[in-house]
Amino acid sequence: MEFEGEKMTEPILKVESLTGGYSPRRPVLHNVSFDIRPGEMVGLIGLNGAGKSTTIKHILGLMKPHDGGVQVNGVALEENQERYRSAFAYVPETPVLFDELTVEEHLKLTGMAYNVDGSVFEDRKERLLAEFQMTAKRGAFASHLSKGMKQKVMIMNALLSEPPLYIIDEPFLGLDPLGIRSLLERLVEVKQKGSAILMSSHILATVEAYCDRFIVMHHGVVAAQGNLEEVCAAAGTEMRSGGLEDAFYKLVTGDRS
């Protein structure tokens, strides 16, 4: 998948006044707006039930907005399904694999789905298998993998298609230290190449160290967003004092003393 040069400054993901949820009577998200540009890594943080996963589901097109909308790669899902969907790869919070496919077959399926050229596919596959220490497990069925290995397979599949946007929900759950390191190294690499990353995580120290901007969600609204300085300012904390964690705590507990 290649990027379109003239779009580089346009946001790859644009969420505009999004109100949504499962039931139209009880929206979970209220007027959520943010965007992500190529070459940016953005951390989506919030307590359990803050609306992070619902936001991600709306971006994926699994839920219909009650109001507002989502644009990926300049189009809404209804306008151009293929363009919209081929622009991102998704790593879910819990690994969702096909029990009847092996690790290698999952990669092949993703390669086919995202139209990765045959020879490029072989190179990328070998590199990913080696990088995530999964070469010996290439023929193993998903049902025989440990939770961490399943998560590795999900991440490898996302990286395989090299899309302009990555949507990653809680990527570090169950990963071993080497896996976390490989993932972070690869995310920095794809970012430098111009991809955008939306990463939801509870590991605030990692989010702070790697992300350029942060979106703090609380009770279905964006409580603060921007770079560290802007989030700290919104929380009324000093950037030096406790960093993101301190600001986050103040934003979600309302404790501004």
Partner: protein
């Protein structure tokens, strides 16, 4: 407040009742489907056939072989419903020492069921046995069968305790062989000799059971067995009505997996690849393979008899292929709720198209393979017309009629959701 033992017992009773309540509606659907009618039809016709056989038993009839084939499975098969689930490992592990009390009811249920079934089969076999020259009398057979039944229930439990799956399979095979050998002895030798022989080989087997590593209580084994029984039950009910989807078990099936390599690496083939893999490796594939083999055998028998100058075989083929086609149609329900269906950059119509393609190709291949033995037999017997017509019509159905119908069905079902 109940004592822990009473609580365990109450839990067993409640779980058993819940299960009965859970499957009751499905039994209703099964009744409505006419399945019982078909079953009683089969029972009546085979009953008549059996009576006819009893009236005029050929002198060279293999009494012992038939007795072994009929009784060994029902003497060996030892199911155990424990109702255990994964959560039990967390919540009931501390009660491990008392789980024997919980399992007592499971064993009682298992014994009751298997004794009744074995008794019925023995009762059916008895008149046939009397035509042969077996030496043992009715009481000998009854007592010996009861002994074998008890030993098998015990043996099956010993196998569940074993830690290594390979050893478990090996010992189960040995148990079946030992039962078959002892039962053969009872049907064909002096009863006292059979008893001595039986006692000896089972004593030996009991010693072998002691050798491998064992669990004190095989939690994981029992939980897996329970889950498998449930899956099988629902798979069976799935023949009559939509059942809640359960995580299906997949097996590598290497003897079919090579077919996946034939699917070309292309964007358009994404779902063809996925559905072909699903068909090959899930239980659906297992059903198709077994049904195909059974159909081939039955159609071959009809062909060998050259019944109705070969058209009888063609008719049986048509009926069996229809059943196979209905089963294969279950492919459309696989992965209908997967998130990737919506995330992959492919239109949903492509998924429908791929299912239809896999379905018609597999049906055409099955049509050819199931017919092959019968077709060759009919050609040799000089019936070329039915030999050629049956597969041509079936493959034409698979290629020309079936895809459109399947597509309409998928679209209709998607709309209903």
């Amino acid at each position: 407040m109940k004592s822990p033992l009473q609580a365990l017992e109450a839990m067993w009773v409640k779980r058993a009742a819940d299960y009965r309540k859970e499957i009751l509606p499905y039994l209703g659907y099964m009744g409505q489907s006419g399945f019982l009618l078909v079953l009683s039809f089969i029972a009546i016709t085979s009953g008549f056939g059996y009576i006819k056989l009893l009236r005029d038993v050929p002198p060279d009839f293999p009494f012992t072989l038939v007795g072994v084939i009929a009784l060994v499975p029902v003497l060996c098969w030892s199911p155990l419903r424990t109702w255990l689930v994964s959560a039990d490992i967390v919540f009931h592990l501390p009660l491990e020492a008392r789980m024997g009390h919980y399992l007592f009811r499971s064993f009682r249920r298992s014994l009751l069921l298997t004794v009744v079934i074995a008794g019925l089969v023995l009762l059916l076999y008895w008149p046939l046995y009397r035509h042969g020259d077996g030496l043992a009398g009715g009481w000998w057979l009854l007592l010996f069968a009861a002994g074998l039944r008890a030993v098998n229930t015990w043996g099956a439990w010993q196998e569940r305790l074993l830690a290594w799956p390979g050893m478990r399979v090996l010992l189960r095979l040995l148990r079946w062989l030992a039962t078959a050998a002892a039962w053969t002895a009872m049907l064909s030798r002096e009863p006292w000799m059979a008893v001595v022989f039986g006692v000896l080989i089972f004593a030996l087997l009991a010693l072998v059971y002691r050798i491998p590593a064992r669990h004190a209580f095989p939690w994981e084994r029992l939980i897996e067995e329970e889950a498998r029984t449930r899956r099988t039950t629902y798979l069976f009910f799935g023949l009559f009505i939509d059942v809640p989807s359960m995580a299906s078990r997949s097996t590598p099936r290497r003897y079919l997996s090579w077919a996946l390599r034939w699917i070309r690496y292309r964007h358009a083939n994404t779902f063809v690849y996925l559905y072909a893999a699903s068909l090959i490796r899930t239980e659906l594939g297992g059903i198709i393979v077994r049904l195909g083999l059974l159909s081939a055998l039955i159609v071959y028998w009809f062909a060998e008899a050259v019944w109705l100058s070969g058209w009888g075989a063609a008719a049986a083929y048509a009926v069996l292929m229809l059943i196979l086609a209905v089963q294969l149609g279950g492919l459309r329900r696989v992965h209908s709720f997967t998130v990737w269906r919506h995330v992959y950059p492919l239109p949903d119509a492509k998924r429908t198209e791929s299912i239809v393609r896999v379905d018609s190709v597999v049906l055409a291949i099955a049509a050819l393979l199931v017919w092959l033995p019968a077709g060759i037999t009919l050609l040799i017997s000089g019936c070329p017309l039915p030999a050629a017509a049956a597969p041509v019509i079936m493959i034409a159905y698979a290629w020309l009629l079936r895809p459109g119908r399947m597509k309409r069905k998928i679209v209709r079902e998607d709309d209903e959701e």
